[in-house]
Amino acid sequence: MIYSSNFIAVLDACVLYPAPVRDLLLSLSDNGLYKPK
């Protein structure tokens, strides 16, 4: 099995409203750890 860092995650609105969670999740995706959809 190939381990690939090409993860896709669906971000629901409930993680986008509390600002600290949103900032963490979006900066992680910005660094290419996963793809937000």
Binding site: M1, I2, Y3, S4, S5, N6, P18, A19, P20, V21, R22, D23, L26, S27, D30
Partner: protein
């Protein structure tokens, strides 16, 4: 020149994981050596091969991508791509890319009726996208902290 595409298998990934860290260590030691080339020994045939230092740093990049399980494509920077290829690289639809070309966001030239885009320009565009995204995100998180939205 045609792009070279290599798909990474599970075995490749394991090998790359092991050799990458060692190669990194070797290359940091080589930084003090002033010659433009380095000698590589192929153990199986006992031959020495002289390769440019730049090729060695490329090899490290290839290995680090392989160890993450990613497939590799090598394309010369001055090569030109079609609108469909460019759209695939940026992960956008072809009509969206054409829109970017039409409003002069990405420079292009026409070969007959076909649009051609320099790979260099594509990379520049992607970097500028990345930069704006970073700035906006920084602004957003700073604003949230100033307004105390959940940050205590």
């Amino acid at each position: 020149m045609e792009p070279i595409v290599k798909r990474t298998s599970g075995d490749d990934q394991r090998i790359a994981l092991g050799s990458m860290t060692r190669l990194r260590g070797v290359s940091s030691k080589l930084r003090t050596v002033s010659t433009p080339g380095v000698e590589i020994k192929i153990q199986q045939t006992g031959e020495f091969i002289n390769i440019p230092k730049k090729a060695l740093s490329l090899l490290i990049t290839i290995l680090s991508h392989m160890s993450e399980g990613k497939s590799i494509t090598i394309i010369p920077t001055d090569s030109e791509v079609s609108t469909q290829q460019a759209a695939d690289m940026l992960n956008v639809s072809r009509p969206h890319l054409v829109k970017l070309l039409e409003n002069n966001t990405i420079p292009f030239k026409k070969v007959g009726s076909h649009r051609r885009i320099l790979l260099r320009d594509l990379v520049t565009y992607e970097k500028s996208l990345q930069k704006t995204r970073e700035e906006k995100l920084k602004f957003l998180s700073e604003q949230a902290q100033d307004l105390n939205l959940g940050y205590e």
